[in-house]
Structures are given as C-alpha cells and as structure tokens.
C-alpha cells in the first residue's frame, strides 16, 4: 500500500513541481477519462470546455492561469500596500516606539524593549539603507516628519506585508492540492474540475487578505507586526512545502525547506515572543510527522534516527543559533549607555559606554564606613532612597519617607555603620559579614533606616520603613542584620555580585520593595516596606551597586563583565518580566480577546478630530464576519464528515477527498488559529486589537478552504449542470462581496479627512455599523 501511495505521490510532486518550474509533465495519466468535456465547467474564459482535445492543452492553460493569477495577486498585493505609503507625514501610533528604536540602532544607543530585537534591527537597517540618519526623535504620535527620510522604513514594512497574501495563496494551494492529489492521478475529470475551480476560489482567499483594510493599515507603518506576520507566514509556507517533500527525504529541496522553516521560526521569535505560537504549530506538526514515520515499518530505526536528527538540527539547533546571533549583533551594535540602563542589573550596565559603571573601579567587599547605593533586584525596583519629606498625616508615623527611586541621585547614598556607632580608626576598615548587625545612615539627611510596627502606606500587611534619628543616633529599631543569600555566617558581601537581604532586628521583617507607586506626596516613587513574610523573592533582595571607601583598594569592575550567555539570559528575564508587567490600568478601556474576531473595536492610528488626517485600524468587517461564520461552518462540516466516516457510510471518492482536505489542511489551519488566539485569554498583560492579526491570517486561509469545499459540495443539493452553475455563481458573489466591501472601507486604511462617520458628509457615512467603532 505504501508503495502504491508513494508512486502516486511521486506523480503528484512531479506535478506540483511542473507548476512551479514548468519543466516536465507527469508521465502517468493512463486512465484519462474520455468524457473530458463535461469535467471542466464553463465560465472561465481562458478555459472553456474544449471537448476531447487532450488534457495536455488543458493542463497547459491551467498552469498558465495559475501563473497569471499569481502575477495578479502579486501586482494587486504590492499596489494596495504601497499606495499612499508616505501618508500621513507624521508619526502614527506605535511608530513612536519602533521608529525610535530603529533610530537607537543607527545611533548605537542601548534601550530596553519587551520584544526581542530582530524586528527593530530590520527597521533600523531599512532606515539606514534608505538614508535615514537616526536624528528624528519620534517623541509622540502626531509629530511631523518634515525632511526626515521615513518612507524607507514604512516601505520595508509594507513590502513584507505585501508578501503575506502571496504566501497565503501558496499555502492554501499546497494544502488543498496535496489532498486532492490522489484524485488528480486517478482521474483527469476531477482534476479539470478542481484545477478550473480552485484558482478562482483561491483568488477569493487572497482577496480576503488583499482587501482587508486592517491588514493593509497594519502593514503600512513602522511596526513590528508586518515583520512578525511575514516570518510566521513564511514559516508556515516552508513547513507546508516541507511536508510536500515527504517522499523525497534528504533531497536538496527537502533540506532547503527544512532549513527555511527553521530560519523563519527563529525570525518570528526574534521579532516578538508571539513567534512561540508558530513554533508550537511547527513543533506539533513535526511531532505528528515523526510519529507517522515511526509507524512506517518499512523504515529502519536508523532511518528514523536520521529523520529525527535532521529535524533537531534544522528546527532546533540551527534556529537557536540564528536567534542567538541576532542577540549577539544586538549587544555588539548597542554599546552606548542609553535610556534602557536602569532596567538591567549592575553587572550588565558595566558593559555600556557612558554608564558610570563602565570601566569603573571600586572596593570589592562591603566594608564599614563605606558610602553605598543599594539597588533592589526586582525588575525596575530602583535604588533605596530617602529625602527631606515626611510621610503625611495619617500614613503611619510622621517620619521621613524612604522609597525606591529608579534614577541615579545623591539621595540614594547610604553610609554603612556598626551597631554601636564607634568607628574603628584602623587604616583598613573592617569588612561586613553575613549575619552582622549594621545601621544604614542616609548620607544627605543623616537619618537612619528605620522600621517599626506601623502599617506601610500601600501594602497594609507590611510595616512602614522610615528615616529616623539625627546625625546617626536613633534607637534600636534602626538595626538591620545583613544576610547574603545562599551564604553562611561569616561570608563577605561582594559588591554588585551578592544578593543581600536586610532583616530588621526588632521585628524580624525584611526590607522589601513592593513595586507599587506612591501617591503625589511620595513623588510617585516606589513604596519600600518591611515585609513579615521572609520568603526569598527578588523584591526582598538587594545588591550593593556603588561602593565608595577611600581606605580600600579599588578593583577594576571589568572582572565583573558578564559572559555573553549571562547577558542573554538576563535580557530575556527582563523582557519577560517587562511583558508581564504591562498590566492594564483600571480606568482604561482595554481590548479583550473576545472583541477581536467580531471586530468589536479597532485602534486609532492617527487623528481624532474632523480636521485631522485620520487612519483607523479596523479589519474589513464583511470579511471578518465571513471568517467567523466560516469558522463555525468549518466545524459543522468537519463534524458531519467525521461522524459519517466513523459511522462507516460509504462515500464517493470525491467526498472522501474533500473530508480529507477538511481534516488535514483545515485542521492544520484551525490549529494555527487556535494557537495564535486562545493563549491571549490566559494573559494578564494589556492586550491590543492588533494581537489578533496573526490568528486572522490562519482564519482567512481556513475560510478559503471551507468555502471552496462548500461550493464544491453544491452537487449535494442540485444535479450536475445546475450544481456547477451554483458553484460558479457562489464564487462570483463571493468575489464581488469582497471587492465591494473593500471599496466601502478603503478610507479607513488610506486615511480620511472631513467630518466623522456619524455626520452625513463623511466618506464613511452610514458605515459605522457598530457603535464601538471610533471613526
């Protein structure tokens, strides 16, 4: 059985390759049906039914048409995306972030972002190549670009965006062809039908993407999403192509598609962590594939091991290498101190030119009498800070505030004292050890770090931390026990490298930064408390960053320079924490995942008022609702098909093929949609409408397959000639709907001025179908 299948598959893959290379024709079509004339329905001018004139010319024109269609798709795709690319000539929405980050690459300034660097590097590169000099500040949305060369960066994103419809076209073609392949070999009758009808159908699919206003809008600006979607689609396309190579393992094209899949996966992950979902999709597909190979008893275990290793190399090791390289370039390019420093650990900062830790030298071990700054280890935890302001009335005791502050400042300096303030006058000061009792005096105000049994201002279960005493004389509540995490009694405290906790002597609590922002009276700095819960968390761990002690020899901090893998790890932790730290604010209306498929609400890209040039990110509602409907339709169709198969009804060959396409091709796309959509329900971070776009790509392709099969099943209702007409009519109606809705909604993408949609004179008059749309 396997052999027979492989022969047909050979034919089929030869067949597909003719489609692309136009070199050779499949040699096996011995069972060509005579009644060819009926097979190809009327309606396509390039392909009218030509009786018995051999399948040869019909195939030629099929391939011809496919090429024509592909060219058409390419042309339409590029023209819709590149049209009015320079409008509006000001910063739109998130361009303010990503454009700015592109500039940082050109200026080689270090910054922090929650996404991996590849996307921004490409933007920066595109800008650099097209003559943008990195001087535009990208301060806020609405700033005019004036003489700056911004079109290159936008154009780059738009070009990548234009490739999406083409990829979608090819993916759907591969998915459904692969499933109808056996059918092609079996009978040219059905091949004619399929070939004639499918391209038209696929064009509809493409139109779904081509004419989707949202998709256009999102690809026209300097954003990460077109780049991300490019890599996702490219990865899926290469995976599908790779699946096609199944009967030619280890051939050159097999390797090519395998490696391409890997590269694109790494690219997707390198742009945004959303790329993980497509990795999961490819991973599941690969596992399935390996499982299939394992069940193939004609393969020896050695063969299977080869297959396995090839995939490990192609899909894990190679992408990993690529991904790490991207980060290596990122760190090499960005070597100047910049706005992102504060997010990173002290060791990390020491590699940035211009940072005060760069090439700095200081005493290695913490000593009594030193002046220090203390940095909290949680992300954006800030430096321990105090200032000449008291806690207001009603907030604990009315003593001096102690906070955590993110910026470097004189008020971050603290003096380390012994418990019993008589400093030893010996030339070499004593070193602080694990378990020592110390007193921390604020250098600027001479108050001691103090805590007592009053509740903290925001975290009510913790104790308040204050500055107390005068000139270093306070009371027993000023004593703190130093504890090096993972250390033993007597261990020295290493500057920068040790994680230190400060246990309050009197109450037993631990110095803690809650991460909550204080109200105005606290200058919106971060709350510092003393937590009675002694669990080791980064919030209760601190490190000594600056350390000034003239009596001790300075050592160069270059010995602290972190290893590349350490930097890599740290930047990932910072990114992940930063991502989960993007919590929605209570008062803001934020987008919920269920809003997305129903197109509940879009995103305002630029412009609010009547006089401004407005661009609004909103999917073409007709298409999105059609996607949603066909998703439901797909589920019903699959359910019907699988129940029929399970029940053992005898189905015609054509129906079997259809249910196969539905289950395999459609299943893959449905899985892709689910993987790119469902995880958002569990995310606590703030979500935006544009997060749905990758899922939307899968949903659109699924629509293509579903509607195609639905229309092809028209003969369930009507007898043959009428069913063909119905099919044809359905395709035309679909095409017309798609084009017309694009015409209706195109101002959303290409910008609109004048009155808002609820007023009669607007270009969008009567199109505000949902109250929640804001145009």
């Amino acid at each position: 059985m396997a052999k027979g299948e492989s022969i047909t598959q050979w034919n089929k893959s030869g067949d597909t390759s003719t489609l692309r290379n136009r070199k050779s024709f499949p040699t096996s079509a011995p069972n060509t049906p005579v009644s060819k004339g009926q097979s190809c329905p009327t309606g396509n001018d390039a392909q009218s039914s030509n009786g018995t004139s051999a399948q040869f010319s019909s195939r030629l024109s099929d391939r011809h048409m496919c090429t024509v269609l592909l060219v058409l798709v390419v042309g339409l795709s590029f023209s819709t995306r590149l049209y009015k690319i320079t409008e509006p000539p000001h910063v739109c929405w998130d361009e303010t972030h990503f454009g700015k980050m592109g500039s940082y690459y050109i200026n080689r300034t270090f910054f922090f972002d929650v996404h991996p660097p590849l996307g921004k590097m490409l933007i920066g590169l595109a800008g650099y190549m097209t003559g943008y000099d990195g001087t535009f500040p990208f301060m806020k949305p609405g700033d005019k670009y004036e003489h700056h060369n911004y079109w290159g960066m936008r154009g780059f994103c738009a070009v990548l965006g234009s490739l999406l419809p083409i990829f979608a076209y090819l993916i759907v073609l591969e998915l459904s062809r692969s499933e109808t392949a056996a059918l092609i070999a079996a009978s040219l009758l059905i091949f004619g039908l399929a070939a004639c009808s499918r391209p038209v159908e696929h064009k509809a699919v493409i139109n779904v993407l081509l004419t989707d206003t949202g998709c256009i809008t999102i690809s026209q600006y300097i954003l990460l999403d077109p780049i991300l979607m490019f890599f996702i689609m490219a990865a899926v396309l290469s995976m599908v192509k790779f699946n096609q190579q199944v009967y030619r393992p280890f051939s050159a094209s097999w390797w090519l598609w395998l490696v391409l899949t890997g590269v694109n996966l790494a690219g997707a992950l390198g742009v945004k962590f959303v790329g993980l979902f497509v990795i999961l999709l490819v991973g599941l597909n690969t596992v399935w594939d390996l499982w299939r190979l394992l069940g193939d008893l004609s393969l020896s275990l050695v063969d299977i091991a080869k297959h396995f290793l090839a995939r490990v190399v192609g899909l894990i090791l190679f992408p990993l290498f690529f991904y790490v390289t991207v980060f290596a370039i990122h760190f090499v390019v960005l070597n100047k101190s910049g706005p992102g420093d504060g997010f990173f650990s002290s060791a990390f900062q020491s590699r940035l030119i211009g940072n005060n830790l760069h090439n700095a030298s200081m005493p290695e071990y913490l000593a009594y009498g030193s002046t220090i700054t203390v940095k909290n280890l949680r992300i954006a935890g800030g430096y321990l800070h105090s200032h000449w302001h008291l806690y207001p009335e009603g907030v604990g005791a009315r003593q001096q505030q102690v906070t955590a502050y993110l910026h470097k400042d004189y008020n971050n300096l603290w003096l380390v004292h012994r418990q019993n303030s008589n400093e030893s006058q010996s030339p070499t000061p004593d070193l602080v050890r694990h378990g020592d009792i110390i007193r921390l005096e604020h250098k600027e105000t001479t108050r001691n770090l103090h805590s007592h049994l009053h509740e903290a201002p925001l975290t009510k279960k913790h104790f308040q931390v204050t500055g107390y005493g005068n000139n270093g004389t306070g009371d027993a509540n000023d004593l703190w026990q130093v504890e090096v995490c993972g250390g033993q009694k007597g261990d020295l405290v290493k500057v920068l490298r040790s994680k230190v906790r400060f246990l309050h002597r009197a109450t037993g609590c631990v110095l803690y930064s809650s991460g909550k922002t204080l109200p105005k009276w606290g200058w919106e700095q971060v709350e510092v408390t003393c937590s009675p819960y002694l669990k080791e968390t980064p919030s209760s761990q601190w490190n000594i960053e600056d350390h000034i002690n003239p009596k001790l020899p300075n050592i160069s901090l270059s010995v602290l320079k972190p290893h590349f893998l350490e930097i890599l790890l740290e930047s990932h932790i910072v990114m992940i924490r930063g991502n989960s730290g993007l919590k929605p604010k209570d008062n803001e209306m934020n987008s919920k995942p269920w809003h997305w498929p129903i197109n509940y609400q879009g995103l305002r890209f630029s412009g609010v008022n009547e006089t401004e040039y407005r661009v609004y990110l909103l999917g073409n509602p007709v298409l999105w609702w059609m996607n949603l409907a066909s998703l439901g339709l797909y589920l019903i169709m699959v359910a019907v098909a699988s129940v029929a198969l399970q029940r053992g009804f005898s189905l015609s060959q054509k129906r079997k093929e259809h249910s196969h396409v539905l289950m395999r091709g459609g299943g893959l796309l449905l899985l892709g949609w689910l993987l790119h959509y469902a995880p958002f329900y569990t995310m606590g971070r703030v979500l935006y409408y544009h997060h749905y776009f990758p899922a939307m790509l899968f949903s659109s392709m699924l629509t293509g397959i579903t509607l195609d099969i639905l229309l092809k099943s028209a003969d369930l209702l009507l007898r043959p000639p009428y069913s063909d007409w119905l099919q044809r009519a359905g395709q035309l109606v679909l095409l017309f709907t798609v084009l017309h809705s694009f015409y209706l909604f195109h101002p959303l993408s290409y910008g609109m001025t004048g009155p808002l949609a609820h007023e009669p004179g607007s270009s969008m008059a009567g199109l505000k179908w949902m109250d929640s749309w804001e145009f």
């Binding site: 394992l294 279960k461 009675p532 008062n587 129940v643 029940r647 949902m770 929640s772």
Partner: protein
C-alpha cells in the same frame, strides 16, 4: 465478595459482604471521626467559612468569590443539624468555641465525606478492572495520608470536593462497565452527572475534573457511533442529558436554594445592583418599599453609580467649592463640588426639573420622564443645578469638570441641560423607572456623559470620589450608568419645606420582584468578577513546591502548649505517588513507541485497561494540577490534595500491572511483594510519626518537634517556655 442482598421466597437472605471493604471503611471512619471536636477552637480556614455559615443561619445575603454556594451550604447544613444559631464571631484562628457551639456537628459532614473517600477509592480501583489487592493498596494509601486526614477533620471543603469527584468517576465507570442491555445502568450515569454538578458546586476547581470526565465519556460515545447494533441516537441523547443537561440544571439549583435561603440584606448588598438589593428583605428594600415606580418631573431621587468599583456610591454635592487653583497650579471654575459619596446622606438627593417650568413639585397627573427627554437636576439641599463646562476636571484633566452651578458673573453661562439616555430601554421601557432603568446623563451642550472617574479627590474634596463628564466614543461601560435608588414625588415648592421633606424617610408601599434567572445571572457574574485584593499569606506556596511538599501549613497552635496541627502530607506516600506518576509516563511512552513499531507487549484488553488507568489517574492529576500553574491567586498546599488522590489510585494499580505483565519469574514477583510490604510498613510508620501534628495531640516537646521537621523549609512552631 461483592455486596449483594437477594430476597427469595421462602424468606432467605443471601448476602455477600466484602469484609476488606468494610474493614477499610471502618478504619477510615475511625481515623477521620474520632475526637472530632478537638481542638475546641477555630482552626485555620474555619475562620473564613465560619462567617458564611453564620450568615446562612441568620439568612443574610453575602457574596463569596471563592466558590459556588453548595460547599458553603453543606457546611451550613452541618451547623444547622447541630443547632448552631450563627451567634459566634469568627474573627481569629485559635479563638475558643463557646459551649453553645456544637463543634462536632460543624465538622461532621466534611469528615464523613473524607472517610467515604477511602471506600470510594477502593471501588474505583475495582471498576478500573484491577484486583482487590490493588484496591486495598489504594485505600490504605488514602487512609494513611496525614494531609487528607487533617483536611477532612475540620470545617473545610477539599474533602467534600474529593468525595464528589471520586463518586462521579466511580459511577461513570460503573455505567461504562455495565452490559449495554441493562437500562438500570443509566441510573449510575445520572448519579455521575449529579456528582459532577455537586463537585463544581463545591469549588470551581471541580470544573476541570468534570471536563475530564466529559472527555472520557465523549471518547466512549464516539466509539459507539461505529457500532451498528445499537440505537446510537438514543444512547447519545441519554448520555448528553445525564452528563450535561442534568449537571447544569443542578448547578443552577444550588443557586436557587442559596438565594431562597438568603433573603435578608447584609454586608455585601452594595456590590449588587439596586434591583437585586431591593429584592432582599431589610436594607434597601425597606427604603425603597412603596416608592413610586416612574420618575417624573419634580421627583426627588438619589442616583447610584452602576459601577461597583472602587466602591458603590451616590451622586453627591455639598456646600464647598472647587479650590481656585489645584496643587499642580491648574485653575478650576471654583463652583460647587459635585462628587460621588459612598454613604447615605441627605446631600445625595437631587430633584428632576423640567427646563421649561419653574416648579419643583410633581404635577397631577405626574409627567414621567422618558428616554431622550432633556432635564435639569437640582441639588436638593443647596438648590444648585448640575452643570458641566469646558473646564478640566480636578483629577482627570482630560475630562470636563462637573459642578453645582454658581453664577460668578464671569461670563460663564450655565450649561445645565442633560439628556436622559436609558441604556436598557429594550429590556425595561422607555420611561425612566426607579431601580430598574440604567440611565446615562448626556450633557446637551457638549455631548459629554456624566461619569464616575473612580479617583479619590484630595482633602479639599473630603476624599470623596470624583465625578466628571467625558466625551466617549466607546461602547457600554458601567461607569457611565446611574440608577435611581430612593425616589419620591416632591410636594413642597419652598426650599425650607423641601429640606424637611428630604430629611424625612420615604414611605408608601409597592412590591417589586426580580426573576430568579436574573438574580442567578447577576450573582454568578459578580462572583466571578468581584476582585478581592491579592493578599500574600505566610503559608502560601507555589504549585511546583507541592510536588515535593516544600511547604506545610500551620493550622492551629494551642494557646499555651506546644500542641499543634499542621497540614503535612505523609512524605513516604507522597514519594510513592510521585514515583508512580513518573513510572507510568515512562512505561506508557515505551509501550506506545513499541506498539507503533508493531511490537505488541500487551494483549489488547490489558492495553485498554492500562490506557484507561492513565486517562483517569494521570489525566485527573494533570487537570487538577496544571491549571494552578496559570493562576495568579494565592495558593496553598491543600489545593494539591485532589490531584494527589488520583496518584494514590494510580500507584497500586501500576504495581499490579508490573507484577502481572513485567515480572516474569517467581523470584522477581516475590521480591516485589516484599518491597511493597516494606513500603506499606514505612507508610504506616511515617503516618504514626506525624500523627501528633495531624491530630494535635499528644503534645510534643520542642526536641520531638525538631525531629519531625524533616525538611528545612517546613515551618513548625515552638513555644518558648
């Protein structure tokens, strides 16, 4: 050895009693029920559930976001049986119960459920087609698990949840194993559905076990479709009814009882809508009883914000103006403050005025206000008009200030017209109705909407909540809605008389009912969305720590001695459970790969039994453990107990599998037998060892306690004397 009683004529009773089962059950009752009223003090979360039990006894309405009401009701039922009157202040762990409280009855039902889990596990193993020895092993593991004993012996819900989950699986497997022909087996299916509903009704976590059971059931049903000897439709419909429809209805039924029981207003009223509150006795309904239904021109009303965040409040104004300059230097209109105030106050009264007329009394007949009408709102005590204008609001500068209009003669004309927009007019009516209608007030001049911003004003605003008017493009949001809560028809035109009228309570009498479904949906929605502040807890832990039992929980410490109760599992059984989980997965992987390569190690029936064991036990562990990894709430070790029970079923079954299918020689089998006996002995010894911490007696010395601290991370309390 199956229990079966047959009645024959002449009267002969033949009975088969599984003595092992009986013995195990008796032991379970003994371990769980003995000395149940010791300690005679509030233990751990009893302090939490107790307050709800008290509220049930007093039939006072409450909202608890921790779970659906069935669990609370079961606890309350126990209290009811013991004659508890609800008069106990649940304020601190360790407080002694007075003699009037029957502690034994409070704890009886969870303890019974906990004891019944042991025979349930025994039967479940049998239904999974394993031997009586394996069943005995599972029952023993469960019997000697200290953490389960601790959790069962107090007024807590985990044991109840575990009981229902096990019952659901047992009855489903009974159904599945029964021959197709018998129709009585559907009673088992019905029981399974009912237990699922009960499990979900006790804790939301039950949902995951329910979903697993549905998954297994749908797989079985799917295989049924290919079977042409059956009437598939009838089978599917029956299963659907028993496993989906019945549980859903029962779940709603728990709420029906809950709402039926709690008929009095209470501390959580304010979270609910006015209509809901009005349906409770006392509280709002006492005030709103007999109010006129339709709001008319001249009506005196209080307007409650529909948002329950940050706190429920009423539109308010008072004789104080906005400061001329705010702290940050921005200017204000210096007109009278309008705020939202979370307490009942005479300053919450507003009068609806027809802009075209001067009078502030209701005409006869009253002229009702409808959707789209333009009105003015006059503050009852100060007679200022509700006004908004293009001045930035104090705390939310992007929005417009709302004030009580004072004419300072600075060419700032009054803009005090508001359009009434009834957002639920489809459901209710076009006429503005007290309590029922949710209204938006749209400012006519600027088309901004009156909105509660949720920010507190500083001291000059007496820390009340800020009210603004904001232009909104966005759709529905509860911060925009206002409902009339108190309402009466104004009769006095003179200011003095009116003030007196406002101070007097409202009167008259009509009854207003809310349908059960509306109440159910509102309550369920509120329970799922009410957010309580994340609280850290000294004994909270993360899910990954549960597997190795890194943490314990101190439940109770005697007020003067070292006697104490801890939630600590039996470390040996815990280890056995983890090992068997690992072993099963490895074994399953090996079998799967070998089968895929065409090597069948096991006969099909055995393979089927093996995979079914995995589906139920490993699947049960996964669905009861993995969701916690994604949760952000405070978690405790006891959340792991349901998952653990599945592993205790798995271990002996896996051993039996190894015994019959993996070990070939007699010597190996004997060795296995010896090992198992040794392990069981250690399980028993370790149970005995931790007994003092499980039962709270006898009291141990500090040294002995130190000896029980097997892990560094365990927190055992010592009292220094």
């Amino acid at each position: 050895r199956k229990t079966a009683v047959m009645l024959q004529l002449p009267l002969v009773v033949t009975a088969q009693v599984d003595l092992v089962l009986v013995l195990v059950s008796l032991l379970a009752f003994w371990t769980r029920l003995s000395r149940l009223s010791y300690p005679n003090a509030v233990v751990f979360d009893e302090v939490y559930y107790g307050q709800f039990v008290s509220l049930y006894m007093k039939r006072v309405f409450f909202i608890d976001d921790s779970g659906p009401p069935l669990g609370h009701m079961i606890l309350a039922f126990g209290a009811y049986l013991g004659g508890f009157d609800g008069n106990f202040l649940w304020n601190r762990i360790g407080a002694d119960y007075p003699s009037s409280v029957s502690v034994w009855s409070l704890r009886l039902l969870p303890a019974l459920c906990g004891s019944l889990c042991v025979p349930l596990v025994y039967l479940l193993t049998l239904e999974l087609n394993f031997s009586h020895l394996a069943a005995l092993g599972a029952a023993l593991l469960l019997l000697l698990e200290n953490s389960l004993i601790v959790q069962s012996r107090f007024m807590l819900l985990e044991s109840v949840l575990i009981f229902f989950v096990l019952l659901a699986f047992l009855s489903y497997l009974r159904f599945h194993n029964a021959p197709n022909s018998s129709w009585s087996r559907f009673s088992w299916l019905l029981l399974s559905g009912a237990s699922c509903a009960a499990a979900v009704g006790v804790k939301y976590m039950g949902v995951f076990s329910y979903l697993l059971l549905l998954g297994v059931a749908s797989l079985h049903t799917w295989n049924l479709i290919g079977d042409h000897t059956l009437n598939v439709c009838v089978q599917c419909v029956c299963r659907f009814m028993c496993l989906v429809v019945v549980p859903v209805l029962l779940y709603v039924f728990w709420f029906y009882i809950h709402l039926g029981l709690l008929s009095h207003s209470g501390p959580h009223d304010q979270l609910m809508s006015s209509a809901f509150q009005a349906s409770l006795q006392g509280g709002l309904s006492r005030i709103t009883q007999g109010q006129p239904l339709e709001v008319a021109y001249g009506s005196q009303v209080t307007l409650r914000s529909s948002a329950s965040q940050p706190i429920p409040c009423w539109l308010h104004s008072h004789r104080a103006n906005y400061p001329v300059r705010y702290e940050n230097g921005r200017g204000s209109s210096h007109q009278q403050q309008v705020t939202c105030y979370p307490f009942k106050d005479v300053n919450n009264w507003w009068i609806i005025k027809d802009p075209g007329k001067q009078k502030l009394v209701v005409g006869s007949p009253p002229q009702p206000v409808r959707h789209g009408d333009v009105i003015q709102l006059v503050h009852g005590m100060t007679s200022r008009f509700l006004n908004s204008h293009d001045v930035a609001a104090p705390m939310s500068p992007h929005a417009q200030e709302v004030s009580g209009y004072i004419d300072f003669n600075v060419s700032m004309a009054a803009q005090n017209l508001w359009r009434v927009h009834i957002s639920n007019r489809e459901a209710e009516s076009d006429v503005w109705k007290t309590i029922l209608s949710e209204v938006r007030l749209v400012h006519v001049n600027t088309s901004a909407v009156l909105k509660l911003s949720g920010v507190s004003l500083p001291d000059w605003g007496f820390r009340q909540l800020e009210v603004v008017a904001e232009k909104l493009f966005k759709g529905h949001s509860s911060v925009l809605g206002w409902t009339v809560e108190e309402h009466r028809y104004g009769t006095s035109q003179e200011q003095k008389e009116r003030e007196a009228e406002l101070h007097s309570p409202t009167h008259i009498d009509i009854d207003r009912k809310m349908s059960f479904w509306a109440k159910f949906l509102e309550l369920q929605w509120k329970m799922l969305t009410v957010k309580q502040e994340d609280s850290e807890h000294k004994y909270s832990s993360s899910p990954l720590e549960w597997i190795t039992m890194e943490t314990n929980i101190a439940y109770w410490l005697h007020s003067s001695t070292n006697a104490q109760i801890h939630l600590i599992g039996n470390p040996v059984s815990w280890g056995v459970a983890n090992l068997s989980l690992l072993a099963y997965q490895l074994l399953a992987a090996v079998y799967l790969v070998r089968r895929r390569r065409g090597i069948k190690d096991l006969p099909d029936a055995v393979w089927c039994r093996f995979s079914c064991l995995g589906c139920v036990c490993v699947g049960g562990w996964v669905v009861n453990f993995v969701p916690f990894l994604l949760m952000e709430k405070t978690l405790f070790l006891y959340h792991y107990l349901p998952a653990l029970c599945y592993l205790y079923v798995l271990s002996p079954a896996l051993l039996e599998h190894a015994h019959t299918h993996l070990l070939s020689s007699a010597i190996q089998r004997q060795a296995l037998g010896v090992c198992v006996s040794a392990v069981l002995l250690t399980v028993f010894l370790s149970y005995r060892n931790f007994c003092p911490l499980t039962y709270g007696s006898p009291e141990l010395s500090a040294n002995q306690l130190q000896g029980l601290r097997w892990r560094e991370t365990w927190d055992i309390l010592y009292r220094h004397r």
